[in-house]
């Protein structure tokens, strides 16, 4: 471990943070615009062009707001929870290959890392729920724990097929192996399970039970305000982006696309654009779903995970295995 490595890592860390902050700003704006237009409204219109800087203004407002600590709250848990939620989301950006060579660190267990790290955020959510000393927040935290843990399993199993096809857990290798065919065509079921599980992981409708505002007021962040609340918000959108980005990596061919010139200096820029476009399409799909669908109930959510997705994921693995065997037989 030398100095330049630390230096590089520091630069990358700050870079990711800036990237997350920017992307959250844009995603929040996008969400509000999409929601608005779906609901025959305009969405924010006053600050900047079509309200583009509205989120920034909101951010300023949130930062300048008083951060309220409930009287009987567990001070430390309450204080730490947003960061415990945010840091895993932040860390998970490390293994996302935005373009060839544009990746912080290409682990050979990159995928495993990605699946493991965001799960830590459930600790933060439970901390928030417990620390607020609020029954709604507690219920939200508990729901979140149950939900994230149960959706980890189908999610992890659904990517096994991809790993089997790519023969590696390195995200870069997975993308490279999709140069001829995207895995979504080989793994439609896997994609479906992965995508829906991601929805559940990032607590979005129809699986936004931890913060179901019509039942639990605002779930685990009922008592949060100001900057702490905005950190929760940021980590949610960071998770959305990371989840969708990985989905692109695993199933939609990562940076691959048409019209990418070879060997030119700007070819990696085009690749980056392809990657971002694909991610944004998935994010848009998420938003679209969010503003269309009602919410599941807790037991139905669990049913869906354990009774539908888990068996399907297992079937998917089996099918993939058979497929690989068949392909081997066929080509050998």
């Amino acid at each position: 471990m030398n100095f330049s490595f630390l230096y590089l890592m520091g630069v990358a860390g700050v870079g990711i943070f800036i990237f997350i902050a920017l992307s959250v700003l844009i995603l929040v704006w996008l969400e509000r615009k999409v929601a608005g237009h779906i609901q025959s409204r305009m969405g924010p219109m006053r600050v900047g062009w079509h309200g583009l800087v509205q989120t920034l203004a909101d951010m300023v407002k949130l930062i300048s707001k008083e951060s309220i600590l409930p009287a009987k709250a567990d001070k430390w848990l309450f204080f730490l929870a947003p960061f415990v939620v945010f840091i895993p989301a932040y860390l998970s950006y490390m293994v996302i290959p935005f373009a060839p060579k544009l990746i912080i660190r290409d682990f050979n267990i990159g995928l495993l890392y990605f699946l493991a790290i965001p799960s830590i955020s459930v600790v933060g959510i439970i901390m928030a729920g417990w620390g607020s000393n609020n029954k709604y927040a507690l219920l939200g935290g508990l729901r979140s724990a149950a939900q994230i843990i149960s959706y980890e399993i189908p999610r992890a199993l659904s990517v096994v097929g991809v790993v089997m096809l790519a023969g590696s857990m390195s995200t870069v290798t997975i993308v490279k192996s999709q140069s001829s065919i995207w895995f979504i065509l080989l793994q439609p079921l896997g994609f479906l399970i992965y995508f829906i599980s991601t929805l559940a992981e990032v607590n979005r409708i129809p699986f936004d039970l931890p913060e179901a505002e019509s039942e639990l007021v605002a779930g685990f962040h009922t008592e949060y305000s100001g900057i702490k609340w905005s950190i929760f918000m940021m980590s949610e959108y960071a998770n959305v982006f990371a989840g969708c980005a990985l989905c692109v990596v695993l199933f939609l061919g990562g940076w691959h696309g048409f019209l990418i010139p070879k060997g030119e200096p700007w070819s990696s820029v085009v690749s980056l654009i392809w990657f971002m476009v694909k991610t944004l399409i998935l994010i848009f799909l998420m938003m679209w779903l969010r503003w269309t669908l009602p919410r599941f109930r807790v037991d139905q959510l669990m049913d869906l995970s354990w009774k539908v997705f888990l068996p399907l994921a297992l079937i998917n693995i089996g099918l993939t295995g058979l497929f690989i065997l068949g392909a081997l037989k066929l080509f050998s």
């Binding site: 999409v34 608005g36 237009h37 779906i38 609901q39 025959s40 409204r41 305009m42 219109m45 679209w288 779903l289 503003w291 269309t292 669908l293």
Partner: protein, 660 residues
């Protein structure tokens, strides 16, 4: 298993359909308004901030005649107001459209003579009508909706008395401005309609001559109306004023006998107006009609009113249920009959006589036998001894026409030694003989409904000849119409152009009787002083006495000045408000509004107050959001209200604010 799979598929399908719908709206145009580029249009009926448009006393009350005293322009203006739904109901309900609210406002200010002139323009006999009018205006008075209508009739009477005190024959200004015209107009009959036409024509400068059959002018007013309702000096004073404009009245000249219409034309009368009215009493084709002791109403009344001795018995039967019958009965009571019985076809509530007259006659001990029709007059030795009557089961048929049906079996005998028939009158149109004027088969005049012209050019008709049995004010209204036609005819203009029909009384709703139980004393109308039955029963003294000045002014201040758009401080908004957030007070003399305060914090914008406002000065503006900023609109305190004659700052601001 397959079923489960199908269900799974259906789930996805439903989700995709939903996504399709949301995508449709994502791509279509938003429906929201963009503030401030776009503004939401607000309904005209928007219930926002309350505001007052003006106050009583700040500016003079707008008189209807300000549109022009000309009968034609006046009528057009009245119709315009009617169309805008801003015509005071009293004016609309009056057949002659007298400007009642103008009169009341001027009386309230103490300008009695001006008030008199205003009334006189439309109603040439204010003193007379102030006594005998059947006042349809009072039934439609908006005040009657809240408590009791304004005593318009008595105010007429009051201003006429005031004018009489000055002994002024006419408005000197009017006489000074008179233009002389050469054309001569002859008017046959000096009843109210003839006088009205004469007045209008004389104002325009025509040389008007009235021919009257009787020895005194006034027509039916002089013959038919009993003295206890109308003293003759009042009538004569009113007629004097018409004469004062240069109208010549030739009494004792009967056209048709002494003179013919042809003679009149030869004498140079360019236009002739027939205003002879209904002077002949109808008779009945029943047995015993020619017995001694059977009289007719008109000759009877004429004799009574001219002070002649009338020969009637002690026990009088009057046949008929109209106003004339009541007059006859009451006159008979006064000239010596001890018992008077009225027999009429109609039931009590159907009687055509005015209810207050029936009431008074009952007070005087007159018996009324309702729903009986005369069968025959019983006689003994050529003298009347009684009247046999049969029961009348229905007076009107299903279409509402007069077609009485009788039950012949059910009869009774009413005893009496004199029978007076008051079952209606007809006109004596023998004067038309030898001219081109045509009569229809029922010997009624054929005339144009709009222009009142008869079949001969230059000859017009007005009054009860044209309308049938009517009232004094109704006749006056036709007189004005005829005057318009004649003056147009003489000037050679189109008679029909722009002529408007009379306003239908049905346009205005008659307010129901108000329960006066909880109402304060000062809100009620003053009760006129009446002679008691003992005092009046044996003489022809006037029964009702007029108002004193103080009472009259107070009564005039009760007028709500409908549609004047100036708050009169009537307090009905405050009485209606469910939140008690309005406070209104008048000054002690009642002539100005001293306080008007709306507590906007309490107001819940129900709009009941502005719905109640008779003047339409309290309006709801569409400026809801300004409620807290324009506080000066809401509090009208004494200082502001009484600051100057011309009003206060509100009016300048009004220009800036735009009502939707």
């Amino acid at each position: 298993m397959l079923k489960k799979f199908w269900k799974f598929f259906e789930a996805f399908q439903s989700i995709f359909i939903g996504m399709g719908i949301t995508f449709k709206y994502l791509t279509s145009k938003a429906v929201t308004f963009q503030y401030p580029d776009q503004k939401r249009p607000i309904s005209l009926r928007w219930r926002g901030l309350l505001a007052l448009k003006g106050f009583m006393g700040e500016t003079p009350h707008q008189l209807l005649r300000e549109s022009g005293a000309e009968p034609q322009t006046y009528k057009a203006y009245v119709h315009k107001r009617l169309k805008e739904d801003t015509l005071p109901h009293c004016t609309g309900a009056c057949p002659a459209n007298v400007d009642v609210s103008g009169q009341n406002a001027l009386v309230a200010e103490g300008k009695y003579l001006e008030a008199f002139e205003i009334v006189q323009e439309r109603n040439i006999l204010p003193g007379v009508l102030g006594r005998i009018c059947h006042h349809p205006c009072e039934g439609r008075c908006r005040r009657g909706y809240y408590d009791e209508p304004v005593s318009i009739k008595f105010l007429h009477r009051f201003i006429a008395e005031e004018a009489r005190k000055t002994r002024r024959k006419n408005n000197p200004k009017l006489k000074r401005e008179l233009k002389k015209r050469e054309e001569k107009v002859a008017i046959i009959g000096s009843g109210p309609s003839g006088l009205a036409a004469a007045f209008d024509l004389a104002k325009e400068g025509y040389q008007v001559t009235i021919f009257e059959k009787q020895k005194f002018p006034g027509g039916m007013l002089a013959i038919g109306v009993p003295l206890y309702r109308l003293p003759r000096d009042v009538l004569l004073f009113d007629i004097e004023r018409v004469k004062g404009l240069g109208v010549e009245i030739r009494t004792g000249v009967e056209v048709g006998k002494d003179l013919t219409i042809k003679d009149l034309k030869k004498q140079g009368f360019k236009a002739i107006l027939i205003a002879v009215g209904l002077q002949v009493s109808r008779s009945l084709p029943i047995p015993g009609i020619d017995l001694d002791g059977v009289l007719l109403a008109v000759p009877f009344l004429k004799a009574v009113n001219s002070g002649e001795k009338v020969k009637i018995g002690k026990d009088v039967i009057v046949i008929g249920g109209g106003n004339v019958a009541v007059d006859v009965a009451r006159c008979a009571r006064r000239v010596g009959a001890e018992k008077v019985k009225m027999v009429c076809l109609e039931a009590r509530h159907e009687m055509p006589a005015f209810p207050w007259e029936i009431e008074e006659s009952l007070e005087e001990g007159i018996e009324i036998h309702c729903s009986w029709g005369p069968k025959q007059i019983l006689g003994k030795d050529g003298r009347v001894v009684g009247l046999e009557v049969k029961e009348c089961t229905a007076v009107f048929d299903a279409q509402g026409r007069f077609a009485p049906t009788f039950c012949e079996e059910h009869t009774k005998v009413v005893e009496g030694d004199t029978v007076i028939l008051a079952i209606g009158q007809a006109s004596d149109l023998s004067l038309v003989e030898g001219t081109e004027i045509k009569l229809n088969e029922r010997r009624q005049l054929i005339f144009d409904k709009v222009t009142l012209e008869t079949t001969e050019t230059g000859v017009f008709a007005c009054g009860e000849v044209t309308t049938g049995p009517s009232t004094a004010i109704g006749s006056i209204a036709t007189g004005h119409e005829a005057a318009i036609s004649i003056s147009r005819f003489l000037r050679g203009e189109d008679l029909r152009k722009g002529r408007l029909p009379a306003i239908n009384l049905e346009e205005f709703e008659e307010y129901p009787q108000v329960d006066l139980e909880d109402i304060e004393e000062e809100r009620l109308r003053p009760r006129p002083v009446k002679l008691s039955v003992e005092e009046r029963i044996d003489n022809f003294k006037e029964i009702e006495l007029g108002f004193k000045e103080k009472v009259a002014v107070k009564e005039a201040l009760r007028c709500l000045r409908c549609y004047s758009e100036k708050c009169v401080g009537c307090t009905f908004c405050a009485r209606t408000c469910p939140d008690f957030c309005i406070e209104v007070e008048r000054t002690r003399d009642g002539k100005r509004v001293a306080k008007y305060q709306i507590e906007m914090g309490k107001c819940m914008f129900c709009g009941l107050c502005s719905e109640q406002c008779p003047t339409r000065s309290l309006v709801m503006t569409p400026q809801h959001e300004l409620a807290f900023y324009q506080k000066e609109l809401l509090e009208y305190d004494k200082e502001k209200l009484l600051r100057s004659e011309k009003g206060y700052a509100f009016k300048e601001k009004e220009k800036e604010r735009k009502y939707a």
